[in-house]
Amino acid sequence: MSAETRETSYREAVREAIRDALRRDPRVFLMGEDVGRYGGCYAVTKGLYDEFGPERIRDTPLSESGFTGAGIGAAMGGMRPIVEIMTVNFSLLALDQIVNNAATIRHMSGGQLNVPVVIRMACGAGRQLAAQHSHSLEAWYAHIPGIKVVAPATLEDARGMLWTALEDPDPVVIFEHVMLYNRTAQLASDAGPVSIEGAAVRRAGGDLTLITYGGSLYKTLEAAEALAGEGIAAEVIDLRSLRPLDDATIMASVARTHRALIVDEGWRSGSLAAEISARIMEQAFWELDAPVGRVCSAEVPIPYPKHLEDAALPQVEGIVAAAKAVTGR
């Protein structure tokens, strides 16, 4: 147990995780667009270029497929690359490398070759960045066997998941929600690696289970607080890992509460929320006392003006209303 904590931002926690990894292992390096001299699009890597130099904090041209593939190749060649892609929207230019190479090579080569690459990318809306910088496509990646997908929502996870991901012999994609970078909280000064597997119960409650991840965690916790004021005790599960999903934690909670509501910033159709709902139906049907509910983003490209962006995304009031509907109150 740590005695000391200090006020830290999510951004600083990620930066500290990268710094820690670079110090631990000479095979680790970071590459991506404007990660070096510029200091990172979201200022996550500020200062690291001066500290570690251009070889290990490697600025790349705007070639997402090229440098993501190079990260995969370097991982096969014995390095431990951290590839940063500015946003999930840009990662679509690198889908070929992630889906056709990183995810397939171990299985396709009969287990001969590993791809220990870590790919970090920002995702999510809330900064009025409009329809080409604001999306939540995590579910697409979570669809792909061969890669692991995590979404750190807390400072401890932002600080601790990276090193564990780098030690993993398989490719890991890390999603960092843009609205989390400025969040601050107390972080133990000796915070270190944490598991990248398993969900966490962030709040206990017996009346219904709220299941969420990433940037929606804090909205969901706020909603749970509001529900408590109305006498509804909500349990909040932070998925942490989007692939593989921690079915056991979800089903154990649903078996206690008999009701589930999923909060997912992705679009409803074909979403992670859909997948989780289906699994509850498959594994905990006889526990259910109400249909599984979902709060997802409106099915529109995320618009620029604040009021429309807000309307498109899951919000606390909507989560509260949906939770009440599920509990029949």
Binding site: H258, F285, W286, E287, L288, D289, A290, G328
Partner: protein, 408 residues
Amino acid sequence: MSAVYRMPSLGADMEAGTLIEWVKQPGERFAKGDVIAVVETQKGAIEVEVFHDGVMGRPLVETGQRVPVGTPMAEVELVDVQRAAAAAPGGEPPAERRAPTRTAAVRTLPGATSPPEPAGARSITVPRRLRASPAARRQAQQLGLALADLAGSGPDGAIVLRDVVSAGGRAAPVRPPAERPAPRRGPNLDAMRGAIAAAMSRSKREIPHYYLSHTIDLTRATDWVAGHNAVRPPERRILLGVLLIKAVAVTLRNYPQLNGFDREGRFEPATGIHVGSATAIRGGGLVAPAIHDADRLELDVLMDRLRDLVARVRAGTLRSSELADPTVTVSSLGERGVDRLYGVIYPPQVAIVGFGTPSPRPWVVDGQVVPRTLVTATLAADHRHSDGHRGALFLAQVGQRLQEPDTL
């Protein structure tokens, strides 16, 4: 050594090929790598090679014949004995690997092809299922409570867990589950026979049929089809029957009173010309699924539709709209060798056109008796909605259209 040359597999999606040409003739020598034959596939004609030196023997497959991959196509004599023995081309084809997919495609006729049941047959009212959550159902079962005895407090009066829990003390015996009807199994040919019987009885009982017959010279049409097919690969060739359907469909544009429905004694003209093509089902039975807008389809397309329909009749995968939509029926006993057929109208349609077997007959052309290919076309129509005069004009015009096959 003696061996056989088999239809080669040139792609994972190739199941069969059509022999277009033998490049090597019996007695002719061939060397490894030589082209032995040309085979038509869905990707076009492909020259197929031999992998051994040898001599061509007796062909086992004729030009134009379509055979599955692995079928022996010719006897060959191989000179490279050592290699030939290793490759064992005369051995059994690797049938065990293909067999599962082939047999999987063979399906027995499911009930889907039976005509829709008449309205009213399902008049039994199904009680609305009692609303109770899964958790409430399980809890009730564990406590031995009958859900029907409980009051629901959930949405729409649904019984939720708390209702069962609160009723927990007052346990009542569980009723035995209601007896379930035996599930229907397999193809229901009896049902189809019954449906045909009902429809045909109604037709003969209610519809005053009149019948007309007309002999049509099909020589030009058959020549035209032969010419059309000569320059096309087998899968693009068309049947004479497609011309007959098209001629009927196009002619019906001028005879709307033959294309439509009887609605309780009143005629309702159809908005499109959807020709039901009578097709026999293996094992008995008959359906006439619709070729939609047959008057507007190119012959090639019409052929594709017909091929598709026949395949799906056999596979039992017809769509219900195809059974319900025909506005007129065409029945052809072309292969069965009868001169003419007199159809029974399929209600609520008002006409059925029949074609006998086209065959060479003496015919007078320009005062000379000459051999021509003739067919007897018949019309059975509902006298409530048309009369023999219109019907005769219609049949005559079908005959005229078939004299100009290139306009169809």
